[in-house]
Assembly symmetry: C2
Homo-oligomer: 425 residues x 2
């Protein structure tokens, strides 16, 4: 109560809210031990032991700061700093602490630790915000254990029914609903809370996972939206034949047909402005033997762009090529996943841009190439993201690295914007 | 002795030597049960239980016919019909009874059963040849359990040292030398015999495993040689990047680089006469994930041609393209396997052609696209092969099928030629 009373007497000026870069960096190193791998990376799949341990450690820090710890039915965890007017919708910050199997030390956990740093700075400095501030750890963002990703935020924002999410099984047949019980058991003192509660605004700090900020020497990316994507699985069926005995003229070579199709797709989707991302990341040849002409190829096309019309046009181009260029093979395709681009409303991006300028950080507006929980939250409340550079743009890789000064700059801007939003009338 | 004396009194005219098509077909159906699969195919890896059982059954038939059963140190089995002049080098016929994991009912075993049918017909008809006639079951032709294939005939012909072959391990770490002991144990009454003994001539009957004979309506392929091959493994290393965040201009996409390289190889190796066989049968993308630009691709090129000079030219073309078209990736290549073409000396092919004509079978000369034990034996003695059509050219597949009449025609020509060779002065 002393601190709260003291805070009432202060002028809540965000310039006094200075985060501690050393603590922020040390926390990253501490959390890298949960699921740490020999090559310096992290394997912390959603709700596995290392992920539960990371949640437990976050809850311990929060309880030590006097925050409330809450869990919702889909396994999202909230660390809540009560506001002067606790009935107001909170400002929410956060990200996720699960990782890819070959993850790094910054993807996801940075947004959580930056949010926690902002709150801890407020607590230490006696800043009591008007609105509550919540640091959220969204469940199962990566989708490596339970597909698809961003499930926790999707359920919170009402985009996926709770029952659907809880019924998703991992490769061992364990349901998300069962794994969430493990989380409840790991943090028995957590309060239960509801999904879809009102939120004043949502902010997510994240490493860029791309090369642009580093290449341009910027500290802060003011994220204006998240590009959309289409994932299409193409199956080409020819005929498996003996590679030594079957003349070219009698072959139905699914590999050559798929290769020619991919070549034509790449040419047809070439854009001079280099905004369209065309990737064939999955490609499987059957039976994959030296002496057998491939009878079947299954490959996956991932296309991303900030603009829905371009995505739809690309879909049509691909469908046309599939129709025309099967080279004697039977070809089928199906959409595996699809997500339209989202542009954040200007409120949060504008505040981020101003805060970065006030702190003297070089910033630029940037569209997110990767998907994030903030995309889901943008359907629920004003949302935005802060990017910081990562070395070489490398992510989902044990080599992932971000400079301590860049992490600190992003956390500082986050703290400044959260404070403004939490104080705003 | 009665039969032998009777035979001495006969005019050994091959036209009297008429094989029994019904027995030959029934034997194929009987042997398909050793390792038979639910889809009608055969999985009979070298010296596994089903292969040992097939050897045992062959030995039983041979012993019932009064043949000698012999095993050599590398696990080749010989069913020997003694000749009137038993010290002469024998005429040898045969093939193998092991199969691919997804094998059919005719590959290999046909050459064994056709050879046995020829011998059984001689025994039943009281034909006693001047030279001994041996039906050989070469060990480990397919190479699916112990790599490489054609090991038994290679050791017999002195192309591979015995110790090298016996030291080859399967995937479970079992050595060929250990597995051969299982064969010795399965057929305890077999005599032991030496490797590399003199052979007057070797004949192998086999399904074509290609589409030519069927398409042209021919019953008999007079095999004039076995084409050579080169297997090259190419590794392209780019950089794994996030597919959503990395602009095209910053990518080192190993998949696109490999695709472009394969396209150019296919174009550069196009021959109007359709003799060169260019196959990319193996192709693996790493890490093979939707949202990761492939950082590495490993693929395998299999090239075959009847002519050594063309193979060497193709090797040079491929090496040149690999050098020039890496598209920013690091590329390495290595030769995995190499085999020069073999042309059989005219003795055996000419006899086959004449015998087919005398029986009224439509025949054509044909080069073998696949490798066979007869290739190895051609370094040891005059050798040749008889091909019969198989449906759709399909082999190494449970759908493999050959018409009873075609199998009978091939076995009849085999019997005729063996008799002539065995009688020849």
């Amino acid at each position: 109560m002393t601190k709260q009373r003291e805070a009432y007497d202060r002028d809540p000026d965000a310039t006094d809210l200075v985060i501690r870069p050393d603590r922020l960096w040390q926390r990253h190193m501490d959390f890298a031990r949960f699921g740490g791998t020999e090559d310096g990376g992290v394997c912390r799949l959603a709700l596995t032991e290392p992920d539960l341990a990371a949640h437990r450690h976050l809850a311990d820090i929060a309880l030590g700061l006097g925050l409330r710890v809450q869990l919702d039915p889909v396994g999202n965890m909230y660390l809540r700093l009560e506001g002067r007017e606790p009935d107001l919708a909170p400002v929410m910050v956060g990200s996720h602490c699960d990782s890819q199997p070959t993850g790094g030390r910054f993807d996801g956990i940075y947004g959580v630790l930056a949010g926690l740093e902002a709150i801890e700075t407020m607590v230490e400095g006696g800043f009591v915000p008007r609105r509550p501030v919540e640091c959220v750890i969204w469940n199962n963002e990566e989708g490596s254990r339970f597909a698809p990703g961003c499930l926790g935020s999707s359920v919170f924002a009402g985009l996926t029914p709770l029952e659907t999410a809880l019924a998703v099984a991992d490769e061992e047949g364990c349901l998300l609903g069962e794994a969430v019980q493990d989380l409840f058991a790991a943090i028995p003192e957590a309060e239960r809370r509801a999904l879809g509660t009102p939120v004043a605004a949502f902010l997510e700090a994240h490493i860029e996972q791309g090369p642009v900020l580093e290449a341009e020497g910027r500290r802060i990316g003011v994220v204006t939206g998240v590009q959309g994507y289409r994932r299409t699985e193409v199956t080409m069926v020819g005929r498996a034949d003996h590679s030594g005995t079957t003349p070219r003229s009698r072959r139905q070579d699914a590999f050559l047909a798929a290769m020619n199709l991919c070549c034509r797709m790449e040419q047809a989707l070439h854009d001079d402005e280099d905004l369209l991302r065309f990737t064939v990341g999955r490609f499987a040849v059957h039976p994959n033997a030296w002496s057998v002409v491939p009878g079947k190829v299954v490959f996956g096309i991932d296309i991303r762009h900030p603009d829905t019309a371009t995505l739809e046009h690309s879909d049509a181009v691909i469908a046309g090529l599939i129709r025309d260029r099967a080279d004697g093979c039977a070809v089928t395709s199906r959409t595996i996943a699809s997500s339209d681009p989202v542009t954040f409303p200007p409120l949060v991006p504008d505040l981020i841009e101003v805060a970065a300028a006030q702190r003297g950080y070089s910033a630029r507006r940037i569209f997110s190439g990767a998907g994030h929980d903030a995309r889901n939250m943008s359907f629920h409340c004003p949302s935005g993201m802060i990017f910081v550079p990562c070395r070489g743009g490398i992510s989902h890789n044990s080599m992932e690295y971000a400079e301590p000064e860049d992490l600190a700059a992003g956390a500082q801007v986050l703290a400044d914007v959260v404070w403004q939003l939490a104080e705003a009338r």
